[in-house]
Structure formats: structure tokens, C-alpha cells
Amino acid sequence: MRTKTLRRVALTTASVLTLGLSLAACASGGGSSSGGGTADDLEAALEKGGTITYWSWTPSAEAQVAAFEKAYPKVDVKLVNAGTNTDEYTKLQNAITAGSGAPDVAQVEYYAIPQFALSDSLVDLASYGFGDLEDQYSAGPWSSVDIDGKIYGLPQDSGPMAMFYNKTVFDQYGIAVPTTYDEYVAAAEKLHAADPSKYITNDTGDSGFTTSMIWQAGGQPFTADGTDVTIDLQDDGSKKWADSWNRLVEGDLLATTPGWSDEWYKALGDGTIATLLTGAWMPGVLESSVPQASGDWAVAPMPTYDGTPVTAENGGGGQVVLKQSKNQALAAAFLKWLNSDPESIKVFLESGGFPATTADLESPEFLAQTPEYFGGQAINEVLVDASKNVPTGWHYLPYQVYANSIFADTVGQAYKNGTDLNDGLQTWQDQLVDYGNQQGFTVNK
């Protein structure tokens, strides 16, 4: 999950013919049973035991499943890594469309949950008493799983955004840590002028990043009320972000290294990319994938537009129970253990994850951590503080997975040509409105 848009190397070699073949398996069949269990059913299901399947790509999944099976020997959890983010969603969506083959429990990032919830593929866990768990999670992640009073999953991690910056590079060129976007752009200019091979950050157009940045700027471009959808990628927040980011795009001040590529990791290691505005799950990635830069990086709050501390969530996700599950009570019981049992969360934290549970976010032990990689800085204080400054009311589209897939075709063109991002956002909006209306939504009408 910390691997947000990581490795989109789809090793899929589907030709048109095999595509036709796989389509032969398609027949619409929604979920069968209704989620009519109660909280007592969970304990009973764990007592009785059984087998469930769990799809996940989190590094901690294996150890968590092992710990669960040790605690509940009668339950057998089959862990499957069905691919990372969009690869998994494709498989999940295919299984849902086919009417069989979906797992009992699956990892789904927050941005994709509305899409699966809308197609009535997920179990509403409210009847199992999951509503009582609300207090245990920070507000941002919880609002992503609680859609119109229905609880479609439990949050596992969260990604409040912060600014990761290469302190060594900043010191070398005498750049102060920017606190506003004006200062950020000035720092970008200064750094690039001092050494043309160095850039303030890399951005070739990333839908997850853009939506998070709009979120931080106070935008609410997507609103959905059932199937009535409104898309306004030119609202105040969207414009505010685009106008300030334009100065970097049009000024050629952004490295064009695509995120998560080998070149990107190298650039993070040698100072070519000096900052990253990204989710709190980043320290784990830096430590494991950019070991050569140990001691260089530090964490600061996100730059803001007017000095008022504000940030947004970037990435992160939770687990859901599929309606196709034959043993929904057991699946729900596993999910509850996975994302609320201290033993499970301990395993998750050890793997470098950033929690969504308030108890862990506020634990003195967590806050006091001073990783050597960050030169002994108490980074969690900054990151936990960020988790409290996430504006509420943000929604993703009920077809966000598709929206992200055409981002490069639309907004990406503005990045490529160094032109106005607002035009790119407008094109994106136009295509999303068309698609939504074709798919039976009522968009912008």
C-alpha cells in the first residue's frame, strides 16, 4: 500500500484473441447473500473455523496471516498476491463481473473503494458492529471506508502528506526549508540555477499526486450522491493548485524521471531530486530502496498556500470483504483482527507501515522514534501532526481507477508540452464526464 503507484509494469501480454477468450467467462452476477450477520457471529465463526482467501500485496501480509493462524488454529487463510494496485483491481473486477473467483478479503486502496462499493460488490460491515470501531481510526482514513453510513472496510494504513527533502543538498546550496508554495517555487529556481542537473522534485503527471494536491488546496472536484456525480476540476482548490504548480511545469523546473523507476531511485539517492511531496509511508520506501542516501533526508510539513498548516492524504488503503465470499462472518472476523488487533498492527508497524489507528499514532513510543536514516530526526512527530491537518469532505470518483488510467492522456500532455495544467484538467474532466454518462451515471447534468 505504501507502494502507491508502484511498478505499473503489467506483465500482461493479452492479445486481442485471448482478450476475446477471457471475455467468454463474463456474465453479470452480483453478490448473492445479504450481509445480515451480527457482532456475535464473528466469534462464532472464529470458533467454528474454515478457509478464506486473502488478496494483498503489503509486505506485512505474510507475517500477519501467520500470526492470525497461530491465534486461531481452526482458520486457514490462503494469502494470494494478485498483483500491485491496478493489477489487483483488474483481477478483482474481472472476478466480480464473472460472478466467481473473487477472494473473501482483499486489500483495496482508498481511492478504489467507492468503485467497488458502487457495483455492490462489498459487504456492508455495519451489521457486524464495525461502526463501533470508528473511534479507533483517524478521521481521514475512516471517511474513506464509511460511505453514506455503510462501512465497506477497515483502514490499514494512511498517508498524510509531508515534504521529504534532501537536507544535504539544501545545505549545500544554502536553501531554506520552504513553508509556502511561493518559497517552494523560489527554491526550485535557485536550486536548478545553481546546478542544472538538480531539480526540486520530479513530476511527470501522477493522478494520485494531483488529486492529493488538489485536496490540500481545498478543492472538492468530485462529488457523488448515489449515481449523480459532479466533476469540477476547475473549482477554487483545483485552480489554486494548477496555477502554482504551473510555475514549475512551464518553467521546466521539474525532473521528468517517472516515479518508481530505477532512474528515480538513483535520483533520490544522488540528490538529483531534492524533495518529495508524498505520503507518510515514504520513510519505509526510502530506507529499503535508497539506502545510499542514509543521513541525507529529513521531513518537514507540507508547504502551504497561505501559511495555515494543511495537508492531504496520499495513498493508503484498507481491506474489504467481498460479497462473493461464502463465509462472510469469518472474513469479517479476520478483517477485524487484521486491522484492529494490537498483535497484527505490531507486525504491520515493524514492516515500516504508517498506521491509521489513533492509539498507535499517539503512542509515545511511536512518536519518539528517531530513525538513523533521517539523521535522528523524530519524523513521526511531523507525520502524525500532518495526519491531524487533513481537510474533510474529500471524495474520489466512483470510477477513479478508470480516471487514473487516462490521466496521462489528458493532464499528462500539459506536463509533456510544458503548457497550462488547467487545460489538461479541463480535458480530463471532459473525458470523465463523457465516460460517466456512457456508464449510466448522471454527470454534471
Binding site: C26, P258, G412
Partner: protein
């Protein structure tokens, strides 16, 4: 009466014969219908419907086709692979031909080595080949970056929108040159040696032998190789789809018709429209391959 019974008995006799034949053909026909005809028929049926995220599935007749013919994204992708076809396929086939003639000329040392070396890229899986070339093309840390550093300017830009098609063409040529060379080489090998002897007695030089004996003998295999290459070009998918991770803004989600079909289906859940793209592309490919074959065999007869 007599004539009536006659006409009745004729089809009956034919029927009995037919059924016996079916016993032999049956197993093949079952497999043929199940794995070749049924998916195509199913795909055609799919194109007549439209399934929505909201509201389920409904019959729309030929609406998907009407939409497709007005879809600029589809035409753009088709134009792109056609351009690719017109430029890349002749280059690749001429290189293959030259390699086959050189190896067949018996004037090279270590032909066995060259034959294997040229064929080897074909043995590399397409996915791996695209990843290897992705590293080579990297203009910061890849080979391209090193060459640019050496030249002191960003001359090579394999991932820029002007170059990307050539970059992909280079990968495809590298991959399939050896395969086509082998087809040509096999055809050259079956030319009877007495033809060469006769040519030598008549005093023909090497170039006369090539134009008079070798090229005419190769005509059939050139047609075959061309048809394979046309199909391959129209089905271009692996290379651009893998390089998309490295050049996301240059390679769009509808860069080739196959990528468009794939993304429509798996990112957009538009299975019906995706099937329409697949069917139309199948027909276009078949028509063009047929024209090439027709032209090729007419020349052969002449």
C-alpha cells in the same frame, strides 16, 4: 413417380455418406468450433450489447460500430500502427534478407555463429526484450545517457514523442530480424545445387545468381514473412505497454489498437466496445493480409 423416388433417394444416399465422414472430422470440428469459432462468435455478440456500471446490460445493435468509426482515438492508433508498418517492416525484412544472403553466400567465416547470434534475440521473451531496451534507452543512467554525456548534448531522446515510434521499431526489428532471416535462409537452402552449377557454367557472377536464382526462389517466403509482419505490427502491444511505465505521457492509453482494446476493457470495464475494436482490427488485418497474399502469389505465377 419414378422421378420422385429418384430425387428422394439421392439426398438420402448423400446423407449416409456425410455422416460417416463426420465421424472422422467430428473430433476436430468440436475442438475447432469450441476454441476458434465460439470465441469469435461470442466477441461479435458482445459488440451488439453495452454493459454499464450503472444500469446493467442492454442490446444496442450496431451502435458500438457507429461510435468506433467516429472515435478519433481509434483512428489515431490505427494510423500509428500503419505508419509503423510502412516504415519498420520493409527495413526489418531487407535487413533479414541481407543477413540470410550473406550467411548463405558461403563467403563468411563462422556462419554458424552469426546465424545463432542474429537469431538469439527472437529467443528472448518479448517482455524481457522491452525491459532490456527500457534500461538502454534511459536518458539519465542508461546507455543513451552515457552516449549523450559523451557527445555533450542531449542528442538521443528515445522517449520523446518524435522518437518513440522509431525506438519501438528498433526493438521490434532487433527481436524479429533473426526469425525472418531463418525463414529466408531455409528457403535458400532448398535451392538445388545444380542451378548454381549451371549458372556458373554460363558465367554468371554472384549478383546475377542472387537476382536470377535466389530472389525468385525467395518470393514465397517474402510474402509469408510480410504477412506475419503485418499481423505483428497491427497487434503491437508488449513493447509500448511496458515502455509506458517509462514514458507515461508519450505513450497514451490508446497508442496502438491493441492497447486501446486492453485499456477499454480492463481499466474502463467497456468490454463491449473493446470487443468492437478487436473485431474491426481483425477484419482490417485480414483484408490487408489477403491483398498482400493476392499480389504476392500473382507475381509468383508470372
Amino acid at each position: 413417380m419414378a422421378s420422385v423416388t429418384l430425387t428422394q433417394s439421392r439426398p438420402m444416399r448423400r446423407n449416409r455418406k456425410d455422416w460417416r465422414g463426420w465421424g472422422f472430422v467430428g473430433p476436430f470440428m468440436i475442438v475447432f468450433l469450441a476454441v476458434l469459432v465460439a470465441p469469435v462468435v461470442y466477441a461479435i455478440v458482445l459488440t451488439l450489447f453495452r454493459q454499464q456500471l450503472v444500469g446493467g446490460s442492454g442490446f444496442v445493435g450496431l451502435e458500438n460500430y457507429a461510435l468506433l468509426f467516429q472515435d478519433p482515438k481509434f483512428w489515431e492508433s490505427l494510423f500509428r500502427v500503419t505508419l509503423f508498418l510502412v516504415v519498420q517492416v520493409p527495413i526489418m525484412l531487407i535487413l533479414s534478407l541481407l543477413a540470410a544472403l550473406a550467411i548463405d553466400s558461403a563467403r563468411l567465416h563462422g556462419t554458424g555463429f552469426f546465424r545463432i547470434a542474429i537469431f538469439l534475440p527472437y529467443a528472448v521473451p518479448g517482455v524481457v526484450a522491452a525491459l532490456i531496451w527500457g534500461f538502454i534507452y534511459g536518458n539519465q543512467f542508461g546507455l543513451t545517457g552515457s552516449i549523450n554525456d559523451l557527445l555533450g548534448a542531449d542528442i538521443l531522446q528515445p522517449f520523446s514523442s518524435d522518437w518513440i515510434l522509431a525506438s519501438i521499431g528498433n526493438i521490434v526489428t532487433w527481436e524479429f530480424m533473426g526469425y525472418n532471416m531463418l525463414i529466408f535462409y531455409a528457403a535458400l537452402k532448398v535451392i538445388p545445387a545444380d542451378l548454381y552449377e549451371a549458372a556458373e557454367i554460363d558465367g554468371a557472377g554472384q549478383f546475377r545468381i542472387i537476382s536470377g536464382i535466389k530472389l525468385p526462389a525467395l518470393r514465397g517466403s517474402i510474402v509469408i514473412a510480410t504477412i506475419f509482419s503485418i499481423i505483428g505490427s497491427f497487434q503491437l502491444f508488449n513493447e509500448p505497454n511496458l515502455l509506458k511505465a517509462l514514458a507515461p505521457n508519450v505513450i497514451s492509453s490508446y497508442f496502438t489498437p491493441n492497447m486501446y482494446a486492453y485499456n477499454l476493457s480492463f481499466a474502463g470495464q467497456q468490454f463491449n466496445y473493446s470487443a468492437t475494436v478487436a473485431i474491426v482490427m481483425g477484419i482490417i488485418t485480414a483484408v490487408i493480409a489477403y491483398i498482400v497474399q493476392l499480389r504476392g502469389s500473382r507475381q509468383e505465377v508470372r
